[in-house]
């Protein structure tokens, strides 16, 4: 059973464009939702997370994500991308009752100048 899915394997935009990277999860209980970024050849870096409260969470470098229980989604957005945002973005889900963290398959974001 796929716990977290990222429907877009690749997204290409131009510098200054807005972007939304999609993430959907399948779990009915309490969960932590996170986004991480991975530049080529490096480990992942944390961007933001949601557990409860305001469904729109702000992260580093102008990223934000919105939790939707009805859609089982946690999409990542940025209003104006920079070429340095080119990387692979991973959505992650951690169930409250389970110590494991499940990652999606990632979305490769390419920002063209």
């Amino acid at each position: 059973t796929q716990t977290v899915s990222q429907s877009d394997a690749h997204v290409t935009v131009f510098e200054g464009d807005s972007v939304e990277l999609r993430c959907n999860y399948s779990y009915g209980g309490s969960i932590y939702l996170s986004w991480y970024i991975q530049h080529h050849g490096h480990g992942l870096q944390f961007l933001l997370k949601y557990y409860s409260g305001n469904p729109v969470v702000q992260g580093v470098n102008g990223f934000e994500a919105e939790f939707s229980k009805s859609d089982s989604s946690f999409h990542l957005r940025k209003a104006s991308v920079h070429w340095s945002d080119s990387a692979v973005y991973f959505c992650a889900v951690s169930m409250n009752s389970n110590n494991r963290i499940f990652f999606g398959d990632g979305t490769q974001l390419v920002v063209k100048p």
Partner: protein
């Protein structure tokens, strides 16, 4: 910047050889994860620890994988007899407590020839 230190950065082994990699988690982080990331960016959870105790691990039925996090020493992941399919990026991550954000090392890229 993450202070999770993974060594070596690159590891090249022949089939059947032992492969050992190490991880020093961020200071004060008792929870440590090991993940295998393949060339398609897919993550495979391997094992996690809290202090020296194993919390969860996959069914390593082949028994080729072993890991430990001894007190006052780096954590380690060892493959007893490497296979070509083990070629991947092995990521170590630590966190302050269960379910909290992960801090990743740069990974050890294992190539099994």
């Amino acid at each position: 910047n993450s202070k999770v230190i993974q060594t070596p950065r690159y590891l090249v082994k022949g089939q059947g050889q032992k492969a050992k990699m190490r991880c020093i988690p961020e200071k004060g982080h008792p929870v440590v994860f090991w993940y295998q990331q393949n060339k398609n960016n897919e993550f495979k959870f391997l094992i996690n620890f809290q202090n020296q105790e194993v919390l969860q691990q996959i069914d390593m039925t082949e028994k080729r994988f072993s890991a430990e996090c001894p007190s006052n020493s780096p954590c380690s992941l060892e493959i007893q007899s490497s296979e070509a399919g083990d070629s991947a990026l092995y990521l170590c991550a630590s966190s302050l407590y269960r379910g909290e954000r992960l801090f990743f090392g740069h990974g050890t890229k294992l190539s099994v020839l």
